[in-house]
């Protein structure tokens, strides 16, 4: 979402893209987080269920209705990750949604509309920060994708070490930025290329493809598709295999594979922020976003 456009983008096109998200159109609100006896920590928008004995934690996004990556959610995610990362007890984290149906709808358009440049810059820095922490985390990260996972939601999944997707045809995953008339930032692109290769990424990014489960598995954007009620247990069992590997060797190997990609952003982080700010500040983009958010509100109403 660094570079952008919107020239020929109609609000209808934007709406069509968004309509992929169940819950968004229906104005569904997330269920209250049922606790069921598990000791949880975290904060308002991120539930962390630790299992110190197993050395793992489950981290649940809880920003109803569609887990949009608001500045607050981003901040809480980064803090929760840092907390676990610094606690040697935890060697692995399962990322999932507290509201099955949507994993995360991605960037929160409200953070990009009607605010000032300083806010846009702060917001984009937080998006970068989350990716940097996820992609090079020393912990094993497994995405238990229990809902739709477009754009930023897909990026979070791609930044994990392994992706388990629920076999529900409505749970599509992909970087669909072009459908909204915008362009995925180069580091979103790099992360996708690393995962599915150059040609598949080129096609998926240009067409803004959202892959339903079977196609997602075939193209390699997820590693496993399982019945919806087995997403969590599968993630746990996969985690067991990853944790069987000596941590230090695994961490150094992960770093060797991913650091060059991370370095590309780190080297031009400020330029990337400026890019984003100048893009969202454009009148055309602001107008598009306003119209889009209006329509969304009406549909919910």
């Amino acid at each position: 979402m660094a570079l952008a456009t919107g020239m020929r983008v109609s609000a209808r096109a934007l709406l069509r893209a968004w309509a992929w998200l169940p819950g968004a159109a229906l104005g569904r609100t997330g269920p209250a987080a049922g606790c069921g006896g598990v000791r949880r920590f975290g904060n308002q928008r991120v539930l962390v269920e630790p299992d110190p004995a197993a050395g793992i934690a489950v981290m649940k996004f809880k920003n109803p209705p569609v887990n949009s990556l608001s500045l607050e959610l981003l901040t809480e995610l980064v803090i929760s990750l840092e907390k676990l990362e610094n606690d040697k007890t935890f060697r692995g984290v399962i990322l999932t949604s507290d509201s099955p149906g949507v994993f995360s709808a991605g960037l929160d358009l409200r953070e990009m509309c009607g605010r000032n440049p300083a806010h846009y810059a702060e917001y984009w820095k937080a998006v970068q920060e989350l990716w940097l922490r996820l992609y090079l985390s020393n912990m094993v990260l497994i995405a238990a994708i229990n809902g739709a996972s477009p754009a930023g939601g897909c990026l979070i999944s791609l930044s994990c070490d392994y992706r388990v997707l629920a076999d529900n045809p409505r749970y599509a995953i992909g970087l669909n930025e072009t459908l909204l008339g915008i362009v995925a930032p180069f580091w979103f692109k790099d992360t996708l290329v690393n995962t599915i290769g150059h040609r598949a990424a080129e096609r998926a990014l240009q067409l803004g493809l959202l892959f339903p489960p079977a196609e997602a598995l075939q193209v390699g954007i997820v590693d496993k598709v399982v019945p919806e009620d087995q997403v969590q247990s599968t993630a746990l069992s996969v985690m067991g295999k990853w944790l069987a590997i000596p941590d230090h060797a695994r961490q150094l190997t992960k770093n060797m594979m991913r650091k060059p990609t991370v370095d590309r952003l780190v080297k031009q982080r400020d330029a990337d922020i400026k890019n984003f700010v100048s893009f969202v500040s454009r009148d055309a983009i602001q107008k598009s976003l306003q119209i889009y958010l209006e329509k969304l509100k009406q549909r919910k109403g």
Copy 2:
């Protein structure tokens, strides 16, 4: 075809490679272009059938018998592309052959034999120019591959956004340069690696593999294989999907994916030309090409 060899290459080996091309061996000449009421523009060797209402044009190679990329064909292709690119009416182009049976046989060996260095340099610059314009075209380019597509013909296909191949076992596609004792230029190689990955490209390039339809689809050098009479309609229907994406976002995304590859050639374009000129000027290569062209003439006669 930048670096080269020919040391151990017999004319027989060259002929064998060429024999993949139906029409070449049979001395078949292309049918006169039937017009059938469609308003066409273009020139002698490129037929352009515009459909302004749909925002697309069909561009047909017409350089019988095998659509060799002569200097004239290359020049006309570049001019036709530029014309469409500058006319905002056109958002997509379908590239195909006016002579079903051969999409394009690739470089025209007659441009590389018995001429002077200045000609070789002009010729190679034109080959580069076509690739540069195709690979970064702002328009959606779809290859409707209705015939054999070796070497330069394959490069044209690879430079499009999507490839539909007719399901005919004689319509093989690939960069088969080594079969003729020569080496694909690094940017042919880069384009192939971007499309099918490093390992498949390494094997295909070393062995000069020409993939028949089923294998072409499996290795990913084409995106779709359909019955011969559905190539055009499939290309049109695929084009519809690509044109549903906002142009500007799609163009920027394409640029992000492909520009680094293009930049590699742009940075050393002159050196690449010099390379080619010094290669084709070698006595051994000239002799090989002469023998080869002679044999070809005899077979046709």
Copy 3:
């Protein structure tokens, strides 16, 4: 094995990894090399069976029980390769094991334990040297993998132009360094990425995956799986196809594909050696290796 760890590595983990190798646990010694009338040359640990008429040679590792890459074996391999490379008679080499059941167990841990830094440096330089010669060999190299092929054994296979694996579930192949608490050097990683792509390599390297034949074929770490008694004949028939290509064009193409990867090591060869020496010299690593080798001895006894 450049960077390393071992922090949480138990001798049991090391042993488990090693136990993948049949023969290692059983203390099986290689059969005496049966000659059967074929003129062989070579030396103690490498048998070379030349077929000058065909322009090829079969090179057999003979360092029982598991063809560990001892300094002597490495040296003899490099010398044998150089000899063939300099003799224009030979255009292709088939690499295989004289002791079916294990292709090669990889690095010889005894070279890395209880010696002085100068020895470690000499050893690592020899490992580098073998890879450099294999990966850019002008000859066609085909791996006839007739046994388990972990770590360094896998690297040798990956450095060939084509890999035929015997269909035996015990013959797993992969870079399993993390299982031993160590990290594959970056050029092992680069070679794997070139072969199976970024994502598959990332997963395989982190988990230290050893692929049994069907999975090995699917992920692309080998090119063909055949019944055990057809490995050699298949390698020969594949060799025929590769040798049908004009040598010089094929060599230049191979060089174009692989040289950038080789250059990365060449540019930092000394640093890579220093890295290795400082790693194996660590007390923790030495202790791990000692315990491991002790256990191995006991199991054999």
